[in-house]
């Protein structure tokens, strides 16, 4: 029995080149792929305005007008401020007027994208801060750690009400 096994050995598959093949695959993937992940601020833009649609009536006292002029100067209801101050102001005012408020962002055609992005960032930050605060009260955790249901509740409690107008031609020299 023992002897017979040695007399007829099964030839072994030569696998020494598997390493080379997988090395080649590895190098191919290293070259053709990139590590970077896409990061950014997610936004939903409104659908095309329907001609039959009635413009919504929003009372003036609920509207916070965030304006960026041609020189990238940021103002909230006419007073100049920095993005950081904007976040603080928005937090205060959204808290007072949770469900009815509207943040209206107005830009000029010559405003740079960076200023716009910073403004969006400041607005999102205000909402994130309020929602975090609510999440701590509600479930004792930061917003990101809450369950989807809890998050939905919080989103409902602090809805994002942002309105964006198309960049304007007039008002301020470019």
């Amino acid at each position: 029995m023992f002897g017979r096994r040695h007399r007829e050995p099964v030839p072994e598959l030569n696998t020494s080149s598997t390493a080379d093949i997988s090395f080649m695959l590895l190098i191919f993937f290293l070259v053709t792929s990139s590590m970077e992940t896409d990061k950014g601020i997610m936004r939903q833009i409104p659908p095309m305005p329907d001609e039959k649609q009635q413009p919504m009536d929003i009372k003036k006292e609920h509207v916070m007008t965030v304006k960026l002029d041609a020189h990238d100067q940021l103002s909230l209801d006419g007073t100049l401020l920095t993005p950081k101050q904007l976040t603080e102001q928005l937090i205060q005012r959204i808290e007072q007027d949770r469900t009815e408020h509207v943040v209206s962002i107005e830009t000029h055609r010559a405003t740079t994208y960076e200023a716009y992005f910073k403004t969006q960032n400041a607005v999102v930050r205000a909402y994130a801060s309020l929602r975090n605060q609510r999440a701590r009260q509600l479930c004792g955790k930061p917003y990101a750690k809450c369950s989807p249901d809890e998050r939905e509740d919080i989103d409902h409690y602090y809805p994002q009400r942002i309105s964006e107008a198309l960049p304007k031609e007039e008002g301020g020299q470019p």
Binding site: L26, L30, S33, K39, G40, I45, K84, R109
Partner: protein
Amino acid sequence: MRAMKSKFMRTSRSMPGLNLASMPDLIFTVLFFFMLVTHMRDDNLKVHYEVPAGTEVQKMEQKTAVINLYISPEGLQIDNQLIAPSGIVPYINEVRKGLSVENQDRLIVSIKADKKTPMGVIGDVKQELQKAYALKVNYSGTEESPSSTNVN
């Protein structure tokens, strides 16, 4: 018997070889790691852009059904081709045709715009996106730690 003899002879003459049997497995592990954490670089950039930085940026989880739209003062590039603003709607419709029904609703347009792009251009692009009914957009940006937020 002969096999035994020759095996014995070889070991006595030379150093035993390093066992490389597990080498392919090791390299395969590294390969799988890279396949998982990276994604294909599919766009040849024809425009130059530098995205702005923000504190509230989030990682985009979705990897499929994403259209990359590069905006720089020189021009527009969508996925892999330069395009005029009027070409956005046909292109998106074309892409949408090739997607499954559930992905059609999840389609995201990732806007990678240069910092210095005037908002007029962005506004025009957004209007085209509205026409194409591609309403989910991602303003691409790099992450910035909250402490280093420069005022203004």
